[in-house]
Symmetry: C2
Amino acid sequence: MSMKTNDIPDIVIGRLPIYLRSLRRMNQQGRQVTSSQELGERLGISAAQIRKDLSQFGGFGKQGTGYNIEFLANQLEAILKLDRIWDVAVVGAGGVGRALATYNGFHHRGFQIKLIFDNDSAKIGQEIGNFTIQDSADMKEVVREAGVKVAMITVPAKAAQEVANELVEVGIKAILNYAPVNLAVPPDVKVQHIDPAVHLQRMTYYLE
Amino acid sequence: MSMKTNDIPDIVIGRLPIYLRSLRRMNQQGRQVTSSQELGERLGISAAQIRKDLSQFGGFGKQGTGYNIEFLANQLEAILKLDRIWDVAVVGAGGVGRALATYNGFHHRGFQIKLIFDNDSAKIGQEIGNFTIQDSADMKEVVREAGVKVAMITVPAKAAQEVANELVEVGIKAILNYAPVNLAVPPDVKVQHIDPAVHLQRMTYYLE
């Protein structure tokens, strides 16, 4: 993978995890080879788009023989830096934070939750799964010391920007934000937003 | 709003809920007027893009005076058909289903959860917030009778497609899918996917 990865459009990078998920699923089903046609049908993306996306990283398939699923999945994991496990901090131990902390679907996809914080004294010290909820007041120190780079924010909207600021200050470079508010971060920090109401709202437009 | 809405690209529709969320937040903060510049700075989108998006639905701002926040938010809600409350069915009463069922952020954004289903006999009959978990075996009949059009799927990956098929059969037209698998649905049904691992994976590419 020795190319100028900085030139790849973010929208292409955004599709790679979708390809990867589908490939790993075929893998589990005992499949060995696939094609851009089959992937495209599964994902509602054109085969040409998939071939173009993958060609940005070099060729992964031989003309006429398709893609080796295991090989392509491994390559995508290397590109996405998922050939390691990233530690994750969760800030906010409400319903969403708890659901994330007990979700068993992260580890085989490159992530493990290591820390969970809340500022509610009734919650601090409680156990969720294997974690003890820690005091948000200690968050900066604990995150910095642990060297964690990835965080999920599940606090109320009004607190989210301040939490993000503190996380960025201690070295967090990727934030998955569940608070229903847009976060402002420096250019070297990545943010993704998950807001179920936003996802629902973009579908109701099409309903009768 | 009398224009051929079918011509508007889906990517534009996808930005409207983001604009709406930001406008409602300004509204709460007591603000009355904003500009495409300010909105753009808050959202990391260019002012020109915002003006172009909004111009697809007619003009909402007067040259030089910006946008009236309340008016523009109301117009966006009408465009997105959020000037009503949509009933929602949740299928799967695990951690995510429970977090969604007790989340109080839906109602003021156009949605209310009405039904929740699970196929686990240990869960059926249990209360979550104001809901009683119903048997998935009754899902088709109950959803059809209630006339619900919007659903959230929070079942394991291997069960999600079958649940989606059943929901589509009884009239569901919009699905928010939390299962980590791509769903195939007919062209008149909309699907949005929320998969935290996918969101995390598209950020790790950029990490050192």
